[in-house]
């Protein structure tokens, strides 16, 4: 079995405050190196909450997040920031390019943050990424001067500049039409194949999720399905995702834990 790059143990997230909200319940997830994981689920189910915790942007409430075999609970903010910069890439739902910088400059920002002025070979790498993603013509445009799909591809290029071990993408196709959405996922797929980058992608689009290696379905803060598409086959996978029983998971078995396994498993209640 491939060693997990990311794993959670009984991960819980409770948003504090007056309207205290328990967003994630006892999640156990192992993500092996190089896997392309799609996180799917209805709106408000906790997908963003999960990916934000996995990508060290947010803190979990109880449980453990283990990265490369190391617990992250003791890391301070600077360590977390450093790790995000060196080992992680981000593609956000709303593009989130900086309007003050050209596309090429935007791609180089993660390099600037930790290493300062990029040398020519890094600039070449950025240009190569733009070419691979077919947006080299807009390299010197500002984000406001290009289309949403182009912005999303520039974001993908930016997530890859520091050659991260793992890339997180929260609804990378959310704002795109079907064709551009499919193209972006195709790109992520090929990045994953080419650079052996681990990929965690949130989507609410079933067709897009089916392009991944593995699908984790989250409903009301619980893992409802977690399977490898290859193992159960695409037809079965489609069936699973349509399963209406998931919506009852939380109510029926609020304390039930998913097993700490990477293997295919379907949970029925």
């Amino acid at each position: 079995m491939v060693k997990p790059i990311l794993s959670t143990q009984n991960l819980n997230k409770v948003y504090p405050g007056a309207l205290e909200f328990h967003a994630l319940y006892d999640m156990n997830i192992d993500i092996p190196v190089g896997q392309f994981v799609a996180v799917i689920g209805p709106s408000g189910s906790g997908k963003s909450t999960l990916i934000n915790i996995l990508s060290l942007l947010d803190r979990l409430s109880t449980g453990e997040l283990i990265i490369d075999g190391e617990s992250t609970s003791k890391w301070d903010e600077d360590q977390l920031a450093h790790f995000r910069n060196n080992k992680m890439g981000f593609v956000f739902q709303f593009h989130h390019l900086l309007p003050e910088f050209t596309c090429l400059e935007n791609i180089l920002i993660p390099y600037w943050i930790s290493q300062g002025k990029p040398p020519p070979d890094i600039i070449d790498r950025a240009k190569q990424l733009l070419k691979t993603l077919n947006v080299d013509v807009v390299a010197n445009n500002y984000p406001s001067q290009i289309s949403g799909g182009q912005q999303q591809r520039v974001s993908i290029a930016r997530s890859l500049i520091n050659q991260p071990a793992i890339v997180f993408a929260d609804e990378p196709t959310g704002n795109l039409d079907q064709a551009s959405g499919a193209a972006v996922v195709e790109l992520l797929r090929s990045m994953n194949a080419q650079f052996k980058t681990t990929l965690v992608m949130v989507t609410h689009d079933r067709e897009i999720a089916l392009k991944a290696d593995r699908i984790i379905e989250v409903v009301d803060g619980h893992i409802c399905h977690d399977f490898l598409i290859k193992e159960i086959g695409e037809t079965k996978a489609r069936e699973q995702l349509g399963d209406p029983s998931c919506s009852n998971v939380a109510k029926k078995e609020p304390k039930k834990k998913t097993k700490n396994k990477v293997k295919t498993k379907t949970k029925r209640s």
């Binding site: 963003s48 934000n52 942007l57 947010d58 903010e77 600077d78 920031a81 450093h82 790790f83 995000r84 910069n85 060196n86 992680m88 981000f90 956000f92 739902q93 709303f94 989130h96 900086l98 309007p99 003050e100 910088f101 920002i109 993660p110 600037w112 943050i113 930790s114 300062g116 002025k117 930016r158 929260d170």
Partner: protein, 404 residues
């Protein structure tokens, strides 16, 4: 952090991207700095010119007999007073002046020192008496004290025998020219014919009622064998007070005073003026600081999305804060440079305007007057950025990512 190229890159971009905002805030700082600089230069120039009028061509240190007031010779109160007897003696002479001269001359700041004989006199013209001051000096050492060579307006700066220098007021009032002779009647009743070898203009009215002659000549004229005082010039005028006080500790029979001791009102006036100028400067600085803090606070809010993304991508809290500190620093620096230029321009305009109306004095453009407002503006705006910087450091990237 301060030298982190990433921090500088983002700070610069933020400033360049919001050009209007940057321009306005830079102009605000520039105005503040220019007012400060102008005020410092103007008041400094005014003070310099007042002090120059006071000490520019006058002694800085005066040595005089301890008691120039007439005092009774005999103190016995039981003695019946004889009104005809000379009961009062005027102790107005210093007989051996070399100890004082030597003591003062030992200080390297003393540029020139001379014993003097001061007295009063009249010049008669028509039916009127014109009263004058008479000063006997040693020309070698005495001329530099009054900067006579620079102040000559006619004739030659030389005195010998019965040739003397006279002030401009005497020359104009009595119509005297170089080569003319006149009769001087002293307050002691003696008198002599003197010849004008030159005319000087020391600036002030009273100083131009002066007749300069040789020390020996004045001694003879006033029937003195000693001198009435010693005068000295110091290379740094403001040191005169401490030099005088130092020398005073060694002598009890003479009074050693500085120009500061003799011009207390002027110095008090200058001090209160510089005090009120400091208050204005402080207010200007406070308003600059508040302005920058609030504008950068708004920038922090406007750019919170960008800051959140940068943090998500791994920018540390210190880097995010640094972006604002650097912005504050750059704003202060640019505003400071512009402010000094603006201040120069205001200063030139002002001096030209006042020159037309007759009053003229220069601006004091000293390194201090330039650097002080400039450095203060830079430091204040850097510090003012601390508030938005803290705000930026505290910003949580998830909030920004979540809400698009």
């Amino acid at each position: 952090m301060a030298l982190d190229p990433f921090v500088w890159l983002v700070a610069l971009r933020f400033l360049l991207k919001s050009k209007t905002q940057t321009t306005l805030i830079v102009l605000g700082i520039a105005l503040g700095v220019s007012v400060q600089f102008f005020l410092l230069a103007l008041l400094g120039g005014l003070a310099d010119s007042l002090i120059d009028k006071t000490v520019g061509s006058a002694p800085h240190i005066y040595v005089s007999p301890m008691d120039t007031q007439a005092k009774p010779v005999l103190q016995d109160p039981k003695r019946i007073r004889d009104h005809r007897a000379p009961l009062y003696r005027e102790n107005q002479e210093i007989f051996s002046w070399s100890p004082y001269v030597n003591k003062l001359r030992a200080n390297p700041l003393i540029m020139a020192i001379t014993p003097v004989v001061n007295g009063g006199g009249f010049i008669q013209k028509g039916g009127a008496n014109y009263s004058v001051l008479v000063k006997g000096i040693d020309p070698q050492n005495g001329f530099p004290i009054y900067r006579i060579k620079e102040k000559m307006i006619a004739g030659k700066p030389s005195i010998s025998g019965s040739t003397v220098l006279i002030g401009k007021s005497i020359a104009t009032k009595l119509g005297l020219q170089v080569g003319d002779s006149f009769y001087l009647l002293t307050s002691k009743g003696s008198g002599d014919f003197l010849i004008v070898s030159g005319i000087f203009d020391l600036g002030a009215e009273i100083a131009n009622d002066l007749i300069l002659m040789r020390l020996e000549r004045a001694q003879a004229l006033f029937g003195l064998s000693g001198v009435t005082g010693i005068e000295a010039r110091v290379s740094i005028p403001f040191q005169a007070q401490s030099i005088a006080a130092d020398a005073q500790r060694f002598f009890t029979r003479v009074k050693i005073e500085s120009w500061q001791d003799r011009n207390r009102e002027l110095l008090t006036a200058l001090k209160s003026q510089s005090g009120s100028s400091s208050l204005i400067q402080f207010m200007v600085m406070v308003s600059i600081t508040l302005g920058i803090a609030s504008v950068l606070g708004i920038v922090a809010l406007q750019k919170s999305k960008q800051l959140g993304i940068l943090k998500a991508m791994g920018a540390t809290n210190a880097q995010t804060a640094g972006i604002f500190v650097v912005q504050g620093f750059l704003l202060g620096l640019i505003g400071g440079v512009l402010g000094i230029l603006l201040g120069f321009w205001m200063g030139v305009g002002f001096t030209q305007a006042t020159a037309k109306s007759g009053v003229s004095y220069g601006l004091a453009i000293t390194p201090y007057n330039i650097l002080f407002p400039f450095i203060l503006a830079t430091v204040c705006s850097t510090l003012a950025a601390g508030f938005p910087a803290r705000k930026a450091a505290k910003l949580s990237p998830v909030e920004v990512i979540r809400n698009g």
